[in-house]
């Protein structure tokens, strides 16, 4: 446990608060990379996911994409891109985008898919246009699952951004790798603690967001006790965080 104290001392050491290698700089790098990737990946994944969810076409493709990526080793992808594009920021950015798209895509299309088809038919029956059905019915109702997708996508990004410094991209992973090279375990530990704190923070923010975006009408009608509503629950495989509603 002394090691943890050393790591905390390392984090709060004033000499690690400033400069190009200070914690704020590395944290800012980590956040900048993560945010940029999140925005780009969302810009690709959300429209495609909505298209798949609304039309129902290409679902098999989306499912196999999200499942197949689970077996892709992130480190290998990162390194092979780094060898192809050279050391720097490009390779990690592309690798991170590739890794973040599948979970966001899954969140987007499963959000649409979770909307009761009768609700969509009712919307069509009262004269809504396709565009109105998407924007006024499917998007709001699918929002919790989309946020769930963004949540696991962001987690994936923050985790993999830690590895990005292995190919020279900076970020909080820098402390782990420098600590390893100089046999400075407290520094490695400090870097790890910072990454974990960041990951848990993002997890907390998204969990809160996921609760907030449930439309009010849905909350009112929601049966909170699953046991009285149905004796069977739909099994969720492969996700410890997304609570199905």
């Amino acid at each position: 446990m002394n090691l943890l104290v050393d790591a905390l001392a390392w984090i709060f050491d004033p000499s690690h608060q400033t400069g190009a290698n200070g914690i704020p700089t590395r944290l800012a790098q980590h956040l900048a990379i993560s945010l940029l990737v999140l925005v780009v990946a969302s810009a690709i994944a959300i429209p495609v996911g909505y298209l798949i969810g609304h039309t129902g076409k290409g679902r098999t493709f989306a499912v196999s994409l999200t499942g197949g990526f689970r077996s892709l080793p992130t480190l290998g992808l990162l390194i092979i891109l780094a060898l192809a594009l050279g050391i720097g920021l490009e390779a990690p950015l592309i690798a991170l985008i590739v890794l973040a798209v599948p979970p966001i895509l899954a969140g987007a299309y499963s959000g649409f898919e979770a909307v009761d088809r009768r609700t969509v038919d009712a919307a069509r029956a009262v004269g809504m246009t396709e565009w109105q059905i998407v924007s006024k019915v499917e998007v709001p109702l699918g929002l919790p699952l989309l946020i769930g997708g963004l949540r696991s996508g962001t987690l994936q990004i923050i985790a993999t951004a830690t590895l990005a410094d292995y190919v020279g991209a900076g970020g909080l992973g820098h402390f782990i790798f420098v600590g390893q090279k100089t046999n400075d375990y407290p520094q490695m530990l400090a870097g790890s603690l910072l990454v974990i704190a960041l990951a848990l923070l993002s997890e907390g923010i998204f969990a809160l967001l996921q609760k907030l975006v449930v439309p009010r009408g849905v909350v009112a009608n929601q049966n909170t006790d699953v046991r009285t509503s149905s004796p069977r629950r739909v099994a969720v495989v492969g996700s410890p965080t997304e609570e199905r509603k």
Binding site: V63, G67, L75, T162, E203, A235, V237, G238
Partner: protein, 228 residues
Amino acid sequence: MNWVIENLPLIGQRALEHLALSVPPIILSFIISVPIGWLANRYRWSRGVLLTVLGLLYAIPSLPLFVILPVVLGTGIRDSVNVIVALTLYGIALMVRTTADALGSVSSDVTQSATAMGFSPWTRFWRVDLPLAGPVLLAGIRVVAVSTVSLVTVGAVLGIKSLGLLFTDGLQRNIVAEVAAGMVATIALALLIDFGLVLLGRLLMPWTRAVSTRRARRVQPIDEAVTA
């Protein structure tokens, strides 16, 4: 390609080391998840508490977890025990939720019938609940297996021996073929273990092949997802 042919023994050795690090976490997380999953399914409070804690555990990125665990375990950073414990934790985080849901999705009509026929809670669990939850449990452990095999490679940046070392070594020596070989071997290993689990599932649950039950059909999209 030449690199691959010349270094086949090395790839084989790394694959074996990789296997030795991935198989124990898969088995351990399954065994540990069954009682925890049962507990999570049994009471409302335990479901909330357990799933929240495990969700947070799953949120911890793998590299930091590899670095931090030695403080808790007193092991070295490159010990296989360290890696196996870390990966088992992730496996449990994924698997407990699936186990709880799988047990929860067993029809209450069936469990009540079993009780009425005189099954004690203990035998009912082993002979009714668990077999009926089987297909979903299988789908869950397949996801755990594939992600475990992929996560083992991360340890390579700390010098942990696995197929991941082909990545780090390939980067240092600038051999693209080595990195590519590592990726192909990792994915192949994941598919191999996945295939083994499917085979094991058919052996242990012959009824899932005979009649396509409603529950078996429900896991199908995930089957596609993992094998694709």
